[in-house]
């Protein structure tokens, strides 16, 4: 069965590159334009992995992770942060919020798919 990934990013081109890379590796992709959109889509369908940006208008990535972790069906779903930020402080905040990993942009599709495969097969 195809594993589904929720890709949350306010940049259209970034979402396009994410969807392209993940679909090429055989995953299904649901796109969301910001944290709130991501949360709404996560409620409609439980996905196998969430990839989220941090800085987005409205709800940011950290807030999305906290909201997802508060939901019963998202307590063990892997969540990866994919962001331009790489500071230790914000990484620690991500970890505390419940992120399973931190990827700094720009991503390399092969390395991204390796990580995703490691987490959800």
């Amino acid at each position: 069965m195809t594993k589904t990934i929720l890709a949350v990013d306010d940049s259209g081109s970034l979402r396009q590159m994410l969807a392209f890379s993940l679909k090429a590796a055989g995953y299904g992709v649901i796109e969301a334009v910001d944290g709130q959109d991501g949360l709404n889509k996560a409620k409609q369908q439980t996905v196998d992995l969430v990839l989220t940006d941090q800085n987005m208008p409205g709800m940011d990535g950290l807030s999305l992770i906290r909201a997802l972790r508060a939901m019963k069906n998202y307590q063990s779903v892997p969540i990866l942060m994919l962001t331009t930020e790489s500071g230790d402080d914000i990484k620690a905040m991500g970890r505390a919020a419940g992120a399973n990993g931190w990827l700094v942009k720009p991503f390399d599709p092969a390395r991204l798919n390796e990580v995703v495969k490691k987490l959800i097969g």
Binding site: M17, F20, N100, G101, L103, K105, P106
Partner: protein
């Protein structure tokens, strides 16, 4: 009727106010130009990335179809092993280029964040220049250096407050200096 000759302190006050107004008005005008150019550049980059992504997807799809067709042709005929190996090597080479292109095509996500931050800084600086300006002759102290000093202190406080507000609101979120792929850390 005797004409009133301005005293040196009145002249000084007028000159200081004229200088502040001039810096405020001209500074604001130039910053507005820079802001307009940055917004235009952001729009152009946004349009360019859309076109690039569309073309990239179309090229990739065409190459995929071409590879499939070649594979089909080679499977129906007696193919020399070196031809099959060459096709496989080309497929891998294309894959590497596609991966590099996907990394490169993420530039706009970073440039738009940087431009957005520059625009916020410019808006803040325009606010600072606005705080430097005066409302006109009504603000001008009639005489005396004490009144002038009080007024300059007031302007200085307004400028300081705007600068503090600006420093607090515009956080740097992009520190990348090249387009190499970033670090990955699993917790």
């Amino acid at each position: 009727m005797l004409s009133h000759e301005p005293r040196p302190d009145e002249l000084m006050n007028t000159q200081v106010m004229r200088l502040l107004s001039g810096v405020s008005v001209h500074g604001d005008q130039h910053l507005a130009e820079v802001e307009r150019d940055l917004v235009q550049m952001d729009a152009l980059l946004s349009e360019a990335i859309k076109k690039l992504c569309t073309s990239f997807m179309a090229i990739h799809q065409a190459i995929d179809l071409q590879q499939e067709t070649l594979k089909g042709m080679l499977s129906t005929e007696k193919t020399a092993p070196e031809q099959a190996a060459r096709l496989e090597a080309l497929r891998e080479e294309i894959g590497q280029h596609v991966g590099a292109a996907v990394t490169g095509l993420q530039f706009q996500d970073m440039t738009s964040q940087l431009i957005g931050r520059m625009v916020q800084h410019l808006a803040g600086l325009r606010d600072v220049f606005g705080a430097l300006g005066t409302k006109g002759s009504a603000d001008l102290p009639e005489s005396g250096s004490e009144e002038m000093l009080a007024m300059l202190n007031h302007i200085s406080d307004r400028v300081g407050a705007r600068c503090t507000e600006l420093a607090g609101t515009v956080r740097s979120t992009v520190n990348q200096r090249h387009m190499e792929s970033g670090d990955i850390e699993l917790f």
